[in-house]
Symmetry: C2
Subunit: 148 residues, 2 copies
DNA sequence: TTAGATGCAAAGCTTTTGCAGGATA
DNA sequence: TATCCTGCAAAAGCTTTGCATCTAA
């Protein structure tokens, strides 16, 4: 017990996304529902919008390029997606969960990103925020390094 | 004393840029020199490439859109420029100096990014890297928050 | 019923590229 | 002089938008 079930992250995000969209008074049409489902599944690691568009197309049902871009932008505005730059300079989106306490380790050789948890680092971030006089809403920590 | 003179950052960066380009065996033509000068002056805060292109044009001399994009990409590859996302989702570049040990605070309300230095946080990052078994080559820390 | 969602296709931007001619080391 | 750099213009992506048509609530 204590460890998350497979797909748990995706499911939790999808639930929260539906809640947030509803709370904003936005309707849930077929295209929007499909896009959110694909995002929940594929944007656990950063993805570009074009990949999401292709995934939606592969899915066969509703969802056009325009819809996907619109949903991604709305989800980002609602704080459901984080926008960042990929190694190639292109824009990537990644799902955000409210209780995230993890950081990223980027392998300089492979370019691969792996998440990790570090309580000391977490504490240092909180203290730094306090010293700066702000209430921290989220953080993005990326350590780049090479394996010896 | 101890504080930097005006234009000092730009000058130091420009010197270093010329050194690095020379060290790579790259030649210094008119367009490249102009672009580097404009970058040193304008990319102290994040700017988009199109702004640099316009600045180069205003300057009147050598330098085309293609040159500017090429110089920016080379400077980024040489570690002279940092690439990041602006609040509007567009790509921005900012000059990098070797002795930077700073982090970023992003104001959730305004989207504004301000740099800060925190030795404790710096230490926590080093220790986290050690625990992960990697040699840290650089880091990117972004604390998002709101002023109470 | 009605404001909002969707798809299509075109427009708008940013960024990259091919090539002929010019300049640097 | 042999490379390398430049500029032009076109191409290639990515993202946004207008609008007519549907549809969720």
């Amino acid at each position: 017990m204590g460890s998350a079930a497979p797909g748990d992250t995706a499911d939790r995000w999808l639930d929260r996304a539906h809640e947030r969209f509803a709370a904003e008074g936005l309707r849930m049409g077929a295209a929007r529902a499909t896009a959110l489902g694909v995002i929940a599944r594929d944007a656990i690691c950063p993805v570009c919008v074009q990949d999401l568009v292709r995934a939606v197309r592969r899915q066969g049902g509703a969802g056009s390029q325009a819809s996907v871009y619109r949903v991604v932008e709305q989800a980002h505005r609602l704080g459901l997606l984080r926008r960042e730059l990929g190694p190639d300079g292109g824009v990537r989106y990644e799902i955000v969960l409210p209780d995230e306490g993890h950081h990223h380790l980027v392998d300089d050789d492979s370019g691969e990103t792996v998440p990790f948890v570090d309580d000391d680092l977490e504490r240092a971030l909180r203290q730094a925020a306090r010293r700066l006089g702000v209430r921290m809403t989220s953080h993005d920590v990326r350590i780049r390094g090479v394996r010896p």
